[in-house]
Amino acid sequence: MTVALGAREDIDFETVAQECRPFLLKIAVASTRNPSDAEDVVQEALVRGFRGLKRFRGDCPLKLWLSRIVVRVAINHHRSVARRLKRWVFFTDMERMQDDGANIPFDPPDPSHDFDREGLMDARKTVNKLPDEFRMPLMMLAVDGLTIPEIAAILEIPEGTVKSRIFYGRKRLKETLQQRKKK
């Protein structure tokens, strides 16, 4: 459907949303801690984007604007889940969801044999323990073709900060995995 945006050109939101959806899903996967929630996060972000389209100033591509919404929705989603978990400790459900996801074999490569196998299998837990500010740029770096300037634009932080956070994310991950190896 087409939405009039004042003096600017009309935007066919439905077409843009369909075109961006695979990309937004990748951003959602990189932003959420549970990949099963990524599709819901994208859906919620698209709804919010459509409702708030009049606030889109047009100073960046719509895809980028929607990506920023995806990141915010993912953060809010995680916080609400964390609140709920705090109130109702429901770990069994979380474990079941993780198991459902793990139907696809998780077999990370380790060509240089720097980490032990058990540590690699725990990589998900280690990554999820990283704070959002380190985890998100690190995971976004794995999105095919996403460059540092693009990550900086999505997260709305300077490029140098993105590189610095990626470095500290890698460092923490490396240290955690090596500590596991020593144990």
Partner: protein, 290 residues
């Protein structure tokens, strides 16, 4: 400035954050090439990247199959309701197929309704009302059960024709960052595609790097199609192709791209290294670079 293992340890962040000067990078490169300990330190950092990439691909595959997960989260109540309704519709269908016999029966329908238990009474009334209709009509509620109201999201469309959608130029550098042509804007980029087997291409690239590596207007890259270690006899910067078209360059090709991103020269690395350098020199001369 003396660049040693301790210096690298203190400036690791600078290396990974592109904060080192060209001079520092060159000296660091020389040190790392000859120091196995520093090579190990950098390798440990770089070993995290494939792990993260694999984790991301796995998560993406999970996210692209949301229906299965959602069903399992809804769990028993939906399955139980669906099964109950299917059983009910089959039972109604069986009863309807017995209709001719019921019609032939002299007993009035009211008697049948009286005999049946209370919860099914409305359904029995429906049978009486839709007496002339075919059985298929009564089985309609069953498929409706399979679409719960909270699952409106369509499955993501598969990417069509991946080959044509590959980016024109996308490589990842030693620090694991993706680079596009815009990162080499305002510089003339000379890149050659090499593989470990192609020793001739490696030697020619090394020769080009020795000739033009110190020129600040020129950037030389050796691109390999797979992530692999730097060749033993090469000190030129090595990057890896991230499934891009490389501006149409094939293995053992050399391409010169000007500061605006326009391809100015295409050639092969397989000729005589002196001739290749001479050809590149004349190509650079036409771009005003000496």
């Amino acid at each position: 400035m003396n660049i040693d293992c301790r210096w690298l340890e203190q400036n690791l962040e600078g290396f990974f954050c592109d904060r080192l000067s060209a001079n520092e990078m060159d000296q660091l490169q020389l040190h790392v090439d000859n120091c196995s300990e520093c090579q190990g330190t950098l390798r440990e950092f770089q070993a995290v990247d494939p792990l993260i990439r694999q984790l991301f691909q796995h998560d993406l595959a999970v996210a692209q199959a949301p229906q299965r997960v959602r069903q399992s989260r809804l769990g028993m109540p939906v399955y139980a309701a669906a099964t109950a309704l299917i059983v009910l519709s089959i039972w109604l269908g069986v009863k309807a197929s017995e209709k001719p016999a019921t019609l032939a029966d002299p007993k009035p329908p009211a008697t049948i309704a009286a005999v049946r238990p209370t919860p099914i009474a409305p359904a029995t009334t429906a049978i009486v009302k839709s007496e002339g209709q075919p059985t298929v009509e009564r089985a309609k509620p069953a498929p409706a059960v399979k679409t719960p109201s909270n699952a409106p999201t369509p499955a993501p469309k598969p990417d069509v024709d991946q080959a044509d959608k590959r980016p024109p130029f996308l490589v990842s550098d030693a620090a694991g960052y993706s680079r596009t042509l815009s990162d080499y804007r305002n510089r003339t980029l000379i890149f050659g595609v090499w593989s470990p087997k192609d020793t001739h291409a490696i030697a020619t690239l090394q020769r080009l790097y020795e000739t033009y590596g110190s020129n600040p207007k020129v950037r030389i890259l050796g691109i390999s199609n797979e992530s692999m270690a730097k060749p033993a006899n090469g000190t030129f910067p090595v990057v890896y192709n991230e499934n891009s078209q490389l501006l149409g360059a094939q293995p053992s090709d050399i391409v010169i791209v000007d500061g605006t991103g326009t391809v100015r020269f295409r050639g092969s690395l397989n000729g005589n290294p002196n001739m290749v350098v001479k050809t590149v020199n004349s190509a650079l001369g036409s771009l005003g670079i000496r």
